[in-house]
Subunit: 341 residues, 2 copies
């Protein structure tokens, strides 16, 4: 039997996809390279700019936006331009992140800079940034009043600013010897949580919700984003390879400073020594995991994940979502917070 | 005696500077590096983030915006956030252009990427792009109505999109054997003219001008931008070194494909051969200039400059600017179109 979430997704996501294609001019045959690079990145074209259907992301943020709009009593169709803007913005940040992180591949395909060079990739990202804003302005065409559109745009650019602050912190951490858990939470707030928060808040804003309700949805999204990231960190070390689809040890092998590791580093000099020694070491992974388990970093991260999850659920409850969309929203939240850590 | 333009500039530009400092958080002592990179680029800080006052651009676009607002019967103070947004946007594009063009210096100083690396410079530009939008939203605080603010934002992002299309074309030209004069005009329209056009149009929009008047100001700005760029191309070859401040031969030595050269290449196989031969040649510059003069490329470019200048003046006249600001606007236009080519 289909869940309410499945039913809503199958109705809403094609509308978002159509809106994004309209904004990114993807309905007129083979694009020139200017739009072609964007179509490739979105999964709509292959490297020769021929039509393709590549899985390019789960579109969770736009779905969240539309579900909140409906659960807050609005017409989700009115919010489709905002959902499209959020997904285009998210994809723009990935193009620039891939350059900044020197990542040659994403989701098993060459990245935009790898195929067309850094200069064109920077410019392509900038163009998508502008187009994300133009997507948002299309709210007017769906009958959203100008003061609401301006507020949606103001919050959008506050969110963009926080995203760049998160990215700044992430790059800065690579040069620092010590990073506190508090610094880390500040960083993932910018890199992950603020856009999830915006997705929920703008849905409620377009639905015409009062400021108290909008604020609860914003906090719900923020806590949901934080919980999701910390759970991801935990699964990156202790997760079941078959379920997560990535090798459990990856985050340890790449010495990624995720929350459990940062907590462990603050508690164990043995772990600090292990991480400061660059020579390859066959039992590096089991030794790191043994220390993390011993000093309680697994429990520490799990308790953080629990706290943020519970905060998210409390704010969602306080926002008082209604109807079938509320059911779908609860299902989406449960999926993102899968509680087997 | 001070000109009307001098009087207006000295009143308006400090207001723009103060607005930009408020948006870029430049009023609270030594900034952290996140804002520090922007302050450096704006000329407000040195490479150690200590306060500095470096000449960093003539701020012509914001001045044009405010003069048009006043000449169209508006209160220029209301348009200050738009003027600040335009200058911040312009500066963001320079940070990314410097990376894309691998330019180590700008105005005699190291570029942002040269000092802090490509990843941070990309991100710093992205942050300024978001802040430029937040500057524009501040129009609300000056009493501009929400529908006008949304329209200002819509036109802003249409302009940003055209800027990236111009930059795309500019980078694409470097890989192409032949570029037509028509392609070139399309490229400089995006790279230069659309932002000048926006500067004028948004001033009229905020003044509450009717759509016919706004359109004349938009066309005036577009033609002014095109004329300015073509005149710059002419001065880059035949200009008086003492007046232009740069060596007259620079554009020839660097083999820059400006309008006179593109016209010459389309008329002279001798010039094509000269440009396809990469070996250093002492009489390269005089030979190129001799050919350009002979085939009429100097006159061709001069006639294009004249046409765009006259179009600009006609649209300005049709927009019917009033008062002392009109006088200043005419003086600014005359300065930008100095007619000694």
């Amino acid at each position: 039997m289909k869940s309410e979430l499945d039913i809503r997704s199958q109705e809403m996501l094609p509308a978002v996809e159509a809106e994004m294609r309209a904004v990114l001019k993807a309905n007129n045959g083979t694009p020139d390279l200017f739009y072609g690079m964007m179509h490739y990145h979105m999964g709509w074209a292959d490297a020769n700019l021929q039509p393709a259907h590549v899985h390019a992301g789960k579109r969770i943020r736009p779905l969240l936006c539309l579900l909140v709009c409906q659960a807050a009593g609005g017409d989700w169709q009115q919010a489709v331009p905002a959902a499209a803007a959020i997904e285009i913005l998210h994809n723009f940040t990935l193009i620039h992140d891939d350059i900044e992180d020197v990542s040659p591949t994403r989701r098993g395909r060459d990245t935009v800079w790898q195929l067309w060079g850094v200069p064109q990739a920077i410019n392509s990202g900038d163009a998508m940034f502008a187009l994300a804003h133009l997507a948002l302005v299309r709210l007017l065409e769906r009958g959203v009043e100008a003061p609401i559109v301006v507020e949606a745009l103001r919050r959008f650019d506050e969110t963009c600013l926080r995203l760049t602050q998160g990215q700044y912190a992430d790059m800065d951490f690579e040069k620092r010897d010590t990073v506190s858990v508090a610094d880390y939470i500040e960083m993932i707030t910018g890199k992950t949580a603020v856009l999830v928060s915006y997705s929920a808040a703008v849905g409620a804003l377009i639905a015409g919700a009062d400021s108290r309700t909008i604020n609860h949805y914003a906090q719900y999204g923020l806590e949901l984003g934080l919980a999701f990231q910390v759970i991801d960190d935990i699964l990156g070390i202790w997760g079941d390879e078959k379920r997560t689809g990535k090798s459990a040890a990856t985050d340890i092998i790449t010495r990624k400073k995720t929350m459990p590791v940062l907590d462990g580093l603050s508690r164990s000099t043995a772990l600090q020594e292990l991480y400061s020694d660059d020579t390859p070491n066959d039992d590096f992974v089991p030794r790191v995991i043994a220390i993390l388990d011993e000093v309680g970093s697994h429990e520490f991260a799990a308790s953080k994940a629990t706290t943020h999850s519970e905060n998210a659920l409390q704010h969602l409850h306080a926002a008082n979502p209604v109807g079938e969309a509320a059911q779908a929203l609860n299902q989406l939240t449960a999926t993102l917070l899968h509680r087997d850590f």
